[in-house]
Symmetry: C2
Subunit: 337 residues, 2 copies
Amino acid sequence: MRARPTMVDVAEMAGVSLKTVSRVVNDERGVRAQTAARVREAVTVLGYRANDTARNLRRRQRPATVGLVIEDVRNPFYSGIARAVEELARVHGHMVVIANSEEDPAAEQKAVSTLLERQVTGLLIVPAGPDHGYLLDEIRHGTPVVFMDRPAQGVGADEVLIDNVGGARHATEHLLAHGHRRIGVVGDPPTVYTVGERVRGFREAMAAAGVAVDESLVRLGGRDVVQAETATQELLSMAHPPSAVFTTNNRASIGVLRALRGRESTFALVGFDDFELADMLPVPVTVVKHDPAQMGRAGAELVFGRLSGDERPPQRIVLPTRLVPRGSGEIAGKPGP
Amino acid sequence: MRARPTMVDVAEMAGVSLKTVSRVVNDERGVRAQTAARVREAVTVLGYRANDTARNLRRRQRPATVGLVIEDVRNPFYSGIARAVEELARVHGHMVVIANSEEDPAAEQKAVSTLLERQVTGLLIVPAGPDHGYLLDEIRHGTPVVFMDRPAQGVGADEVLIDNVGGARHATEHLLAHGHRRIGVVGDPPTVYTVGERVRGFREAMAAAGVAVDESLVRLGGRDVVQAETATQELLSMAHPPSAVFTTNNRASIGVLRALRGRESTFALVGFDDFELADMLPVPVTVVKHDPAQMGRAGAELVFGRLSGDERPPQRIVLPTRLVPRGSGEIAGKPGP
DNA sequence: TCAGTCGATGACAACGTTGTCTGCGCGTTG
DNA sequence: CAACGCGCAGACAACGTTGTCATCGACTGA
């Protein structure tokens, strides 16, 4: 288990100079076929592999790698993004480094710092914290940064968002149209941008319909399926439970469904985010659907566009949502025993 | 948008030598507090960030990065692995580069090559192709390689597998115990190692029970949900459809469920791999459960163990499976109209 | 008082690679 | 036949950093 061979080793073995090896390895012209063959022979015998680190340093270029900072790959929304980013990156000869921020601003900033020291050529971030002024210098030094799913303050960078307010409004209107008036909300803390926006869309639709929001039915703050389940159980055991619920994301939807299972009492449901098997459940779940792959692609396209010279002012792309009625939004609420 | 500042720029601004900046940046001792303060000042003013590429080259060490080659992050099995690997990597100060091999040996080999040129310190691979002799040199040069989910030929490297045969046997025994005799199989091509093993477990259990396998009920080859759905439809329209089916992975299970939906005819089902909401479906799905996170952790532990001097001979870790009866394995088949 | 020690700092080389420049031998051309 | 061009090859510097060694002044102790 000795160290890796370098060009010097190859040169020595082939009886040529270092530079000639470099020429052969990089398919430069100006090497006699016979010499090149000798070099290639030595390369395979020694198992030589170019050192990308040294190459990049010398060429003053960065490793062909983009950083992707997300909350958790296990969430299908993020893995959908990740996959699309990876696909586009591959087309552009880049690799993807994934960091999970765990929704923690400190972890996010640490990850970003490490990625930047690693000299990534571009950065795709689902921001956890609000302020990203610390990236100003980097952007000025030529690293394209794209924020996905949520905007970032303190920086004028590209952003890819979805129509949160519109989607939530549609969801709420759907429930209102089916006669629901006591509508609850279950989801993550409203400090998360998307949650705030979706709740805003909910309130807008309610206000437009002249229906007052019962604040005791708004249960935000859960961070995972279990907490959404608990919140739902609380809703169900109220004296006047909601007849319908809007959930702010797929985790919350699933938590609600778990709480509802086996219960006699139930309520209508529309969830933000589609999820696998939503249409296969006993009561198929009506959702506000959008396309994570589209978000990943749009973000990656922006990054690689910037890398190849796109100098337009910072873009804000807003992706559409679509209400997919499957049944759960149309059932009449029969709350309470 | 000028180039990034280097230590030379910082040194110039602080009126010290390059080396002093290096000392401050690396928290080496031997710098007067006052000098250090001046340097730090210059660092923040210029927005200096250490160049990990140059540092690694000089120190003759590799970037603290491990490569993870999987089939598709969108599959929860792989994203579960990815997340666990990332978590352990973070603990060890490493980042994770993810490459999707798409089950294509050529793509896998290309990804691995790129990762190695990038000087990753370790490699976690879910192998797509069978032969990995091309990694022999690398392993000899000191790059720890761990194969996950499937073994690799031609190399003596660490492996983390699951008890495919045992799990499949349990699944089949469960179906046999509930009176099923005409049992079908739906899944990926048997050339995929895990599929082959799981089918072997199925056959072993059938043989042990003295039940002949009707080969027309074995439908392997589908690579995604849609193809599994098609295969199932074919099974259902047979003159003598199966009364039960064993699926070789979560994609196949979901395809089968989709085909079954709304159909009058049905059959019992046990699937390999657990999946979200399996317990929430109209007929909760009985599965052979195992833990992707455990696999990721085990793999990562092996890599980081090797990196810190573990010299044991190549390990083969086999993770257990557990049958989770939820109902779908116990229903009586009522095939055909 | 003088060697010896110590703390702070800098000069220099080196990591593995590539860009630039130079040199050599040979054939072509005016 | 001198001059030139061309194909091939190597010497050397440089990328941004860190390890080693040298330097210098000040302080210590006998």
